[in-house]
């Protein structure tokens, strides 16, 4: 127990830069974890009777979760003023794009065997696939312009362009709803989280959140970490 509190205190004493670095490493590990598990299960022949389906699900769901995580950063910043989280937005977004690309490749290659006839006749007319494909295509310019250079080059337009993510997340959710046969717990859960995250960007809610942040900051300064340490 003493070890845990000691570590906690040490962590709190870290300067902002080190914190950011730690968060960054944590984000990379978190984002790569599903892929590592998938590769492990592939290597040990543990993907069940339908490995293609398994690969589709296990690239699709992390993509959705990472997209949601990337959308969660701004509201967390609004609520608590955790500016050090901001760089994670890009990391999560780019990993989401990686999983969507793997998802797409699995679909056209492992599932459809690059059979253009099947893909065209059977799939392109189908909304379920089209919606997912649209989300993938819209994510592409965001991934390409995710670097600092594009950000500078595009200026104000960059922000407008990256608002596309709101359309993308809606398409991704629809894709998920349409995949499921009648048992809607998970799509509902994800949709609820996304609804909250989008509401947090709506001015009336955002103002309330900012007021909360001020109260939180005051409380934090009145209860400095050093006090906690002396109590131990």
């Amino acid at each position: 127990m003493a070890l845990v509190t000691d570590t906690m205190t040490k962590l709190r004493k870290l300067d902002r830069k080190t914190w950011q670095q730690l968060l960054r490493v944590g984000a990379h590990i978190l984002a790569l974890y599903p892929l590592a598990l998938l590769l492990r299960d592939y290597y040990y022949v543990n993907l069940g009777a339908d490995p293609v389906r398994e690969m589709l699900l296990r690239t699709g769901e992390p993509a959705l979760v990472l997209l949601i995580l990337s959308l969660a950063i701004t509201p967390l910043n609004t609520l608590f003023g955790w500016k050090q989280l901001i760089p994670l937005r890009r990391i999560f977004g780019l990993y989401a794009f990686m999983y969507v690309s793997l998802h797409f490749l699995t679909f056209v290659w492992l599932d459809y065997g690059l059979n253009l006839q099947f893909i065209w006749d059977g799939v392109v007319e189908q909304n379920f696939v089209l919606v997912g494909f649209a989300a993938f295509i819209l994510l592409l310019p965001l991934a390409i312009t995710s670097n600092k250079w594009s950000q500078r080059k595009l200026g104000k337009k960059w922000k407008t362009l990256h608002k596309l993510v709101y359309i993308i997340i809606l398409l991704a959710l629809i894709h998920f709803w349409w995949l499921v046969k009648n048992v809607y717990y998970m799509p509902f859960l994800y949709s609820a989280v996304v609804t909250i995250l989008l509401l947090m960007r709506w001015q009336p809610v955002k103002q309330k959140a900012l007021r909360f942040q001020r109260r939180y900051r005051n409380w934090r300064t009145q209860n400095p970490i050093s006090k906690e340490r002396s109590a131990n």
Binding site: V45, G48, A49, N115, G122, V129
Partner: protein, 329 residues
């Protein structure tokens, strides 16, 4: 007593292949298929690509069993016992594919009774032992799931017509209604509020009397496992898999078209006939192609799942199926 009719589906029992032999062949073939399409992936890991351990275990426990052929009548290899018994859609247990095999392990299938009644002259309740007295057959059928995957499965069972001939439907009877056991204590999925349990399915009398229509009690020469619908399930191979209702306790002859569980819970997506048809898409996804479990890539879906010759005479009116999948095409 019915005389055993030969159809194109039945394979002469002269060529018996022990299970372990075709299992290894199957592994080889799936291995080859995977390697051919995904050499880049296969190259980076040793051994065979499809679950081998389970197959070995299955062979060890059922070494004496046999099937009469290693392929269906179209020449496509059987799916492994391992695949068939671990990849299941059985929402009474849960909605994952590998969950039913785990959750159904202790599902009680004995004693078991099937009550046959409704518009019949001789209602009768069959114990499982009575059902096993009907002439037993082996049928190698393709199973095409509405989710666009498929398998080739060697069933053991008997013609549903055996039962119908015994109970003698009256002239008002037009449809057969099947019902799965309602046992939420042993079927956790039946506690789900998303479906009007128990599972119900139906056939026209003509479909129920058809030579292809069987009640299955076994698989690969062994008694059916709970996750595959033990102790007795329907198999209608020209229809989507969800029509082949599992763990049947009740069969009624009725005058009106029964409303199946899927018709009740998603009427715009699932119709009564639900015949496999590559031209009629599911409202959300295509039915033009399918993924055969154990293969990479896709194969074209066949009209009536490849049983067109045997069943097409039952559907002379092209508008019979307008409710199927909700499409009016």
């Amino acid at each position: 007593m019915l005389i055993k009719k030969r159809t194109g589906i039945e394979i002469p029992s002269s060529e018996i292949t022990p299970k372990h032999l075709y299992l290894s062949r199957r592994q080889f073939m799936t291995g080859a298929a995977l390697t051919a399409t995904a050499g880049f992936l296969a190259a980076c890991r040793p051994g065979q690509p499809i679950a081998t351990e389970g197959n070995v275990a299955a062979t060890a426990t059922g070494g004496s069993t046999a099937v009469s052929a290693t392929t269906d009548e179209l020449g496509d290899p059987l799916n492994s016992y391992q695949d068939i018994t671990t990849y299941n859609n059985y929402y009474e247990f849960n909605t994952t594919k590998d969950g039913p095999a785990r959750l159904a392990k202790d599902f009680p299938t004995s004693p078991w009774q099937v009550a046959v009644g409704g518009l019949v002259k001789n209602p009768k309740t069959y114990a499982l032992e009575d059902l096993l007295k009907f002439e037993q057959l082996e049928r190698i059928y393709r199973l095409r799931c509405v989710e666009a995957w498929s398998m080739v499965i060697p069933w053991n069972g008997f013609h549903l017509s055996n039962i119908l001939n015994e109970v003698e439907p009256t002239s008002e009877a037009k449809f057969v209604r099947f019902e799965t056991i309602y046992d939420p204590d042993n079927m956790p999925g039946q506690k789900s509020p998303f479906f009007p349990w128990p599972y119900v399915e139906g056939l026209t009398i003509e479909e129920a009397m058809h030579d292809l229509t069987i009640l299955a009690t076994g698989l690969y020469g062994e008694p059916l496992l709970p996750q595959n619908g033990a102790p007795v399930r329907l198999v209608v191979p020209w229809k989507y898999g969800f029509k082949s209702i599992k763990a049947i306790v009740k069969i009624d002859l009725v005058a009106e078209m029964p409303t199946s569980l899927w018709m009740a819970s998603a009427p715009h997506e699932y119709g009564f006939y639900a015949n496999v048809n590559p031209e009629v898409d599911h409202p959300r996804w295509s039915q033009a192609s399918e993924r055969r479990i154990g293969e990479l890539g896709r194969r074209a879906t066949l009209l009536y799942n490849g049983y067109e010759e045997q069943v097409t005479h039952m559907y002379p009116d092209p508008t019979y199926d307008t409710t199927q999948n909700g499409n009016r095409s």
